[in-house]
Amino acid sequence: MGIIRNIFYMIGKYVLLMSRVFARPQKDKVFRRQLMIEIDSLGVDSLGIVAIISVFMGAVVAIQTAYNIDSPWVPTYTVGFTTRQSIILEFSPTIVSLILAGKVGSRIAGEIGTMRVTEQIDALDIMGINSANYLILPKIVAAMVIFPVLVSLSMFLGVFGGYLAAVIKGVISGPNYIFGIQSWFIPYEIFYSLTKTVVFAFIITSVSGFYGYFAHGGALEVGRASTKAVVQSSILIILFNLIITQLMLQ
């Protein structure tokens, strides 16, 4: 019973916080500047890790697919087709979001949590500034804008990684792979994938903001809040992955 009550308490607290986050910013100019800073630190800073993961992920998917369909009855371009499908539908949006939950989520919870325990949030409130809105909204908007860009890049690099692996290993010729990745292409799948990404971006930033905003105590508690933020947003990503897939892929 206690656990269920606790979950509802947390959800209520989260919804109340979000109702304060989604308000009109005090100054548009300040908001735009914050947004640019966040796009830079949440997005541009994550380019490297997203690129590396994607190339390797694509390579592994291609090799595994080739290994699994090692049969003379299956045409080799299937490797290209299957790799593309896996990357676009699942690996890029979900895996990259999980990685970003770790990287971006802990950063946000740590940053906002530190501001809470050092009274910087109180200082904002005293001035008459809506601190939840000022601190969390730019991060949510920035992530919802930049994560789809990162994931699109990841899709491209993943498919490219698959090409490298397949061709270097010699399981399939380059033109065959290219033919594979062009077969039965459905643009809706990209839409599905990027929709997932936008939802995940919202989950990561709002949940991490929530844990940071309500941190209390000292450095130890801020660390704990970061860990909770990462764990909770990862679980929610997995859960919403299932829900959105049920809704969008019939």
């Binding site: 530190t114 501001m115 050092t118 009274e119 109180d122 005293i126 001035m127 008459g128």
Partner: protein, 248 residues
Amino acid sequence: MIEIRDIYKAFGSKQVLENIDLVFDRGKTNLIIGQSGSGKTVLMKCLVGLLEVDSGDILFDGSSISAMNYNQRKSLRQEIGMLFQGSALFDSMTVEENVMFPLTMFTNKSFEEKLDRVNFCLKRVDLNNVNKLFPAEISGGMKKRVAIARAIALNPKYLFCDEPNSGLDPLTSIVIDNLIREITKEFQMTTVINTHDMNSVIEIGEKIAFLYHGKLWWQGSNEEILVTNNREINDFVYATELTRRLKK
């Protein structure tokens, strides 16, 4: 002038403030003193609106905050400056940006005008050539000064200081105390200071409110506090060997 009328505040079943009636005058340094846990911080948070009182009222120059709507409270907050115990400077911003922040958020001044005001405030707290430094690069005493500069940037009518001397050496403490007193006089602010530092009490205690277990136990001036016969006050004032010897 701030009038506190019969306020009560409890957390769950724990009564933290009881029946507090107090008046803080304009142009004076008003002190709230008391032992750790007596309710000083809670009282100050109620005054600045970070906490809601359970009953009673607080009047800022005659206007009651319980009668104010959201927007009126918001504009009242712009007349309040607060100095936090740990300074609470924004550590992602430079000293200059910290002091400029309230100006950027609440005025439409040009950058040059804002910079003028920032430099005026920094100069007022005796800080030079630190504009471009980050909070992590300056000492605790300097942070306190920057925090004072930020608190007075919008020319507030009311200044609140939560333990302005904690973590400072005795000399720096006196400098900060005097600075707070001077700007209180100069800008005719109503200043409320939370402290348990007896030095400050003697130096700048024009009006002192002594809290004891959440009740207003005694009030008076720094002259009166040394000669009162109230037992709890004496226990507090003459808590250390040094002060007991001085009394003799």
